[in-house]
C-alpha cells in the first residue's frame, strides 16, 4: 500500500491554519463508515453556495487534476480531531501533504493511516509557492527528502512513524502484545488509587439511582 517514493504534481494551497473543518465540512461526518468522504474534501473551497465548482480554485483546474501531493500553509490540519479529514484526503487521491507545520491530532491521524506528512522549512515552502504553474515534486520517504525544480530539502520523521509508513506497522496489533503488562499495570493502579477505578460506571450507576438531579455547581 505504501511506497518509498511519492511523486507527482503538487497542488499549492497557501492558506495558513487550514483547519479540519475546512478540509472536510461537518455535513460529511454523519456516516458510521468511511465511505464517500472524498466528496467532502475542501468542499466550500471547491464549490460555491449552489454546488457549482469554483473555476478559480486550484483543485478544479485541469492541470492539477488527480495530483497526489498538497502543499499546505503553516499549521495545516489544525482544529477538530476528525480523522475523516485524513480518510477523505486519501480517497480523493492525496498521498502526501508538504507544509511547514501541522496540527497535532491531524498529524497522528495521518501517520496512523499512511498519509505522508512532510514538515519542511518555511523558506522552502515560500519557494514552492513562488513557483508559477504546476510543479512536480518527489518525496523520498526512505531518504527523508523532498525534491523539486526549486530545490531539495530534508524533512524529519520519528523512527516510529517512518517504520509505520514503510512497513505498514499495525499499531493496535503491536500494542496487543503488551496486554499482560497493561493488565498488571491496571491491577496495581486500582490498588494504589482506588478512586480512579471505573469512574464512568460508578457515575452512571449513581445517576440511574438519583431521585433528583444534583446541583451543577
Amino acid at each position: 500500500m505504501t511506497h518509498t517514493i511519492i511523486e507527482g504534481i503538487a497542488v499549492p494551497l497557501p492558506i495558513a491554519n487550514l483547519d479540519t473543518d475546512q478540509i472536510i465540512p461537518k455535513q460529511f461526518l454523519r456516516g458510521i463508515d468511511k465511505a464517500g468522504l472524498d466528496r467532502g474534501i475542501l468542499y466550500d473551497l471547491r464549490f460555491d453556495g449552489s454546488g457549482a465548482p469554483r473555476p478559480d480554485f486550484v483543485l478544479n483546474q485541469e492541470a492539477y487534476a488527480g495530483a497526489p501531493i498538497l502543499l499546505g500553509g503553516a499549521n495545516f490540519g489544525c482544529g477538530s480531531s476528525r480523522e475523516h479529514a485524513v480518510w477523505g484526503l486519501q480517497q480523493f487521491g492525496v498521498r502526501a501533504v508538504v507544509a511547514s507545520s501541522f496540527g497535532e491530532i491531524f498529524y497522528s491521524n495521518a501517520m496512523n493511516n499512511g498519509l505522508m506528512l512532510a514538515t519542511v522549512p518555511e523558506a522552502y515552502m515560500e519557494q514552492l509557492f513562488a513557483h508559477e504553474g504546476p510543479l512536480q515534486l518527489r518525496i523520498d520517504v526512505e531518504r527523508l527528502e523532498v525534491a523539486s525544480s526549486v530545490g531539495t530539502t530534508g524533512f524529519t520523521l520519528s523512527e516510529r512513524h517512518r517504520r509505520m509508513f514503510l512497513d505498514g506497522l499495525d499499531m493496535l496489533g503491536a500494542s496487543l502484545l503488551h496486554l499482560p503488562a497493561i493488565e498488571a499495570f491496571a491491577r496495581r493502579w486500582r490498588q494504589d488509587q482506588p478512586w480512579l477505578a471505573d469512574v464512568a460506571a460508578h457515575a452512571r450507576t449513581r445517576l440511574d439511582g438519583a431521585a433528583s438531579i444534583g446541583a451543577a455547581a
Binding site: 489544525c78 491521524n109 488509587q193 478512586w195
Partner: protein
C-alpha cells in the same frame, strides 16, 4: 531529579516505554461521542476484539443532537439518527456507560464528565475531541485523539503517546471588572499565535490563575488547544480539591479513601526547579474584554481596538471572509445572532454571568439569541435559579443541551452572511454555517451584544445601566 507536573503524570501512566519519544500511556477515562467513534467500533468488531475496561469508558450523544425544547428529542436527519442508534448499540454490546439522546443528564462530554465526578486530579483523560484539554483545570492530563486511536483505546485502555514539550504560562495580577477567563485565553492565543503552543503541554500558573473558579479554569484549559497545545494543566490546589469532593459523592462519602486521595493530589505540582523549555508571562490586570475579528482564534483584540490592517495573506483572506475593513472600530459591529453555550462556556457560571448582564433588558429587535446549556444538570440548575425564566422573558431561546451551533453539526445552523456573537471556541470559516461569521467572546460580552444588537463593551454597558 526535579520534574514538571506533566512529566510526573506521564511517568505515572507509562505502561511501557516504546522508544525515546513514545510510551504506551494508560488512560483512566476515555470519553466518546457519536461521530468520532463509529469506525473505531467497526474496526474492533472486524478484529473480534472487546473493550478491555468498559467502566473506564463513557459515551454521550452531543454533536448531532437537536436542541429544541420538545419533551422527546427525535433526530430528524436519518444519517445522524443512525449514528445515535449505532452508538447505543455499540455501548450496549460493550457494556459502556452511555448518556443517550433523551437521558436527563445528557450533555456535552466535557461538561458532563466533571460535573458528575468522573474527572479527578492526576488522571489521564482521552477523547476523540480536541477540547479534551479542558480537564487540566482539575490537574488531569486531557487530550484529543483520532478514531484509529479510539479503537486502540477501547481494546487496550492505552494509547501510543508521543511525548510533548514543557511550556509554562504564568499569569499574575487581578482580572479587571468585566473580564473573564475567556478574555484571558483569547489574549494568550492572540499573543502566542494559533500554533504558539504546538508540540507542548502548557502549565498555567500565577496569581490570576489561582484566583479563578474551576469553571473558569475549564474555559481557560478548554481553549489551550486553539494555541495548538497538546494539553493544558493547572496544579490542583484547594479550590480544585473542593470541587472534586463536591462532585464525587462516592469518594467524599468514604473518609479514609478521601484522605488518601487528598494526600496524593497534594503531590501533584511541578517541582520548584523543574525546567520548562518555553515560558510566557502575562499580566491579567491590563486585560480588556477580548473579541475575535477574523477566522482563526488568534485573530483577536481588545474591544476598544479597531480592525487591524492585514499583515499577510492569511489576514487579508480573513478580513474578506468576515466582511470587515481595516480601521473599523470593533465595538458597534452589528450582529444578527447570539449563541451562548458549548464546552467552553455552557456551564452554570457562564449562564449566571449572562443573566447578570441581561438584567431587565430585552434582546434587541432583529437579533436571534440562543442559549444552549452544556448539560441537563446545567439546564435544570438554571431553571431552579430563575435564570431560564429571566432569559426567556428577555427574548432568548432556551434550548436543550448539546454542542449545537458551536460546530453546527445538528440543525442549529447560521445562514450565509449572518454575523454571530458566540461564546464558543472556533471562528473558522464556515464553522457555524457556510458563509457565516463568528466573533468569539465571553458570555458577559455575548449577553451585552444580545441586548444592544452589536458588539459592545460590557464594561461601559454595565456602567450605563447603573
Amino acid at each position: 531529579m526535579s520534574k514538571t507536573l506533566y512529566r510526573k503524570l506521564v511517568a505515572a501512566h507509562t505502561v511501557v516505554q516504546l522508544d525515546a519519544d513514545n510510551v504506551l500511556l494508560y488512560a483512566d477515562l476515555h470519553l466518546m461521542n457519536e461521530y468520532t467513534s463509529p469506525q473505531a467500533f467497526a474496526g474492533l468488531h472486524e478484529r473480534g476484539l472487546k473493550t478491555l475496561y468498559p467502566g473506564q469508558n463513557v459515551a454521550t450523544v452531543s454533536h448531532i443532537i437537536p436542541t429544541h425544547a420538545d419533551k422527546l428529542r427525535i433526530i430528524a436527519d436519518t444519517d445522524s439518527a443512525l449514528q445515535a442508534s449505532n452508538l447505543k448499540r455499540n455501548c450496549e454490546r460493550h457494556g459502556i456507560p452511555l448518556f443517550d439522546t433523551n437521558d436527563r443528564f445528557q450533555g456535552i462530554e466535557h461538561v458532563i464528565a466533571p460535573e458528575h465526578g468522573m474527572i479527578r486530579p492526576g488522571m489521564v483523560v482521552i477523547c476523540g475531541d480536541s477540547h479534551t484539554t479542558t480537564y487540566g483545570a482539575l490537574g488531569a492530563l486531557g487530550f484529543g485523539i483520532g478514531t484509529t486511536e479510539v479503537e486502540h483505546l477501547l481494546a487496550t485502555q492505552t494509547l501510543v503517546y508521543r511525548l510533548a514539550g514543557d511550556m509554562r504560562i504564568r499569569i499574575d495580577g487581578q482580572l479587571p471588572a468585566g473580564t473573564t477567563a475567556k478574555d484571558m485565553i483569547l489574549m494568550v492565543i492572540a499573543r502566542i499565535g494559533a500554533q504558539g503552543a504546538r508540540g507542548y503541554v502548557v502549565e498555567f500558573c500565577g496569581s490570576a490563575i489561582a484566583a479563578l473558579s474551576i469553571e473558569a479554569r475549564f474555559t481557560l484549559c478548554n481553549m489551550a488547544v486553539e494555541a495548538g497545545a497538546r494539553g493544558a494543566l493547572i496544579a490542583p490546589d484547594e479550590t480544585a480539591i473542593r470541587y472534586v469532593m463536591q462532585h464525587c459523592p462516592d469518594l467524599a462519602g468514604d473518609a479514609d479513601m478521601a484522605a488518601r486521595a487528598r494526600a496524593h493530589w497534594r503531590t501533584l505540582f511541578s517541582d520548584q526547579d523543574a525546567v520548562f523549555e518555553v515560558e510566557h508571562v502575562f499580566d491579567a490586570s491590563t486585560l480588556a474584554p477580548t473579541v475575535t475579528w477574523g477566522t482563526s482564534p488568534d485573530q483577536a483584540m481588545p474591544i476598544t481596538g479597531t480592525i487591524p490592517p492585514a499583515r499577510d495573506a492569511s489576514d487579508a483572506r480573513a478580513l474578506q471572509y468576515a466582511g470587515l475593513a481595516s480601521g473599523t472600530p470593533l465595538e458597534g459591529i452589528a450582529v444578527q445572532h447570539v449563541f451562548i453555550g458549548s464546552c467552553t462556556n455552557g456551564r452554570i457560571e457562564d449562564l449566571r454571568a449572562v443573566a447578570a448582564v441581561v438584567g431587565e433588558h430585552k434582546v434587541a429587535p432583529g437579533v436571534r439569541a440562543m442559549v444552549v446549556p452544556g448539560s441537563g444538570a446545567v439546564r435544570e440548575q438554571a431553571e431552579r435559579e430563575g435564570i431560564a425564566a429571566q432569559l426567556i422573558a428577555a427574548g432568548f431561546e432556551w434550548r436543550k443541551p448539546g454542542c449545537s451551533m458551536c460546530l453546527a453539526m445538528n440543525d442549529d445552523v447560521l445562514a450565509p452572511g449572518t454575523r454571530c456573537a458566540s461564546t464558543t471556541n472556533r471562528n473558522f470559516e464556515g464553522r457555524q454555517g457556510r458563509g457565516a461569521i463568528t466573533h468569539l467572546m465571553s458570555p458577559a460580552m455575548a449577553a451585552a451584544a444580545a441586548v444592544t444588537g452589536k458588539i459592545t463593551d460590557v464594561r461601559t454597558f454595565m456602567e450605563a445601566a447603573q
